[in-house]
Amino acid sequence: MAIRPETATAKTFRLHLPRPSGHLAGQHYVVRLTAPDGYTASRSYSVASAPDESSEIELTVERLPDGEVSTFLADRLRPGDDVDVRGPIGGWFIWPGDVPALLVGGGSGVVPLMAMLRLARRSGTSNLVRMVVSVRSPEDLYYADELPGPETTIVYTRHAPASEARPPGRLTARDLPAPPVGGLTFICGSSSFADAASDLVVGSGTSIADIRIERFSPSGGHCH
């Protein structure tokens, strides 16, 4: 286990697994903490690293002030510690890597989309992918050294860097590229972000059948 900070409140945990993960871009793992008395607490976290042949995965975890698991991971876990994980899980919010994809992420919702962007860059298919990330301010951007590139647009909602021409404000239709022809749109973030973004995407002419949504909540996504 190696740990590195992404923002003031988020850390990336690099885990060594007993065997290659075999994960697909967009899937998640469940992290389970067990107390000496047998009490357990589990939460789902998306994989940020691209699928590869290795036995390592990266999970990025936002520390939620009341988060039983995320505060433990952020405050107590040390490099070298063991944690139980289970996965990969999820068979819906997945980019197969061979169709055009629009990735729309809000805040910590960028994590599973980063696995997709990394996969595209690694496999030389960046032309298939467009990513739009909405963050409050530059300090809130995950993967700030790696994410910016020709495929990506960063939208600042509260504070923008001086170099940014677009004034700070919520995501609008003008921030989104044209819908991917014959492809999929992946939206990930809070429920309110996902609703707002999906309304914009539907308004731009994307069929609902081509939209996949992951809503992050304190307990992780994946439900109905």
Partner: protein, 203 residues
């Protein structure tokens, strides 16, 4: 798992609420919204609910018709596979028993596929939606069911993980065989008993 996580302990040494299945926590007043699809805008004017498949009388109700059926309430606990539970929530609607009584299941009917207006599906053994164990509801805690929580009406099957309680419910199809639904073919458990922690395939 035989091992424990270094440094982790249960918070505050509080007694665990016996209503919480293993691995669940009390979400308190919050009610997370988790959906894989865009939230649809369904008009009650054109809304319908259907019971079909292996039934003597396939039956469709309009919004007004289903609300004219005898009301039935559920008050209790719901459990999401992502580990939150909501304790003491109240739903008002109609018992699935009432709907099946009207449609009259055939003897061969053994399974149910519930389907939503969005195309979402989820599956049950027939006994799990009969005997006062399942509802089609349009109110939560006395208020109209919000759109993001499945309004105008959703299925509630509280003894199973809550992905089985399909939002935006459109109907039930009675079958003589099991037909796994949306999440059930994507790695989630086919039956989903929270007390047995049947979260994922293989649990």
């Amino acid at each position: 798992m035989a091992t424990f996580t270094r440094g982790f302990s249960r918070r505050g040494g509080l007694e665990r609420d016996p209503r919480l299945p293993p691995g669940q926590y009390d979400a308190g007043q919050s009610w997370p919204v988790l959906t894989a699809e865009p939230t649809p805008r369904l008009d009650t004017e054109s809304w319908s609910f259907t019971v079909e498949g292996l039934v003597r009388t396939p039956t469709t109700w309009s919004w007004d018709e289903i609300r004219a059926l005898p009301r039935s309430d559920f008050t209790g606990d719901i459990h999401c596979v992502t580990s939150w539970s909501k304790l003491g929530i109240s739903f008002t609607g109609v018992s699935v028993d009432t709907l099946l009584e009207a449609a009259m299941p055939l003897a061969a009917a053994a399974h149910v596929l519930a389907y939503s207006h969005t195309g979402y599906t989820t599956n049950f053994p027939l006994p799990d939606v009969t005997g006062g164990r399942a509802w089609v509801v349009w109110e939560v805690d006395g208020q109209p069911l919000p759109r993001e929580h499945g309004g105008p009406a959703r299925l509630v099957v509280p003894h199973l993980y809550f992905w089985k309680s399909a939002k935006w419910i459109a109907g039930l199809r009675l079958l003589d065989h099991d037909e796994p639904g949306f999440w059930e073919v994507r790695g989630y458990h086919n039956y989903a008993d929270p007390w047995l922690e049947q979260r994922y395939d293989g649990d």
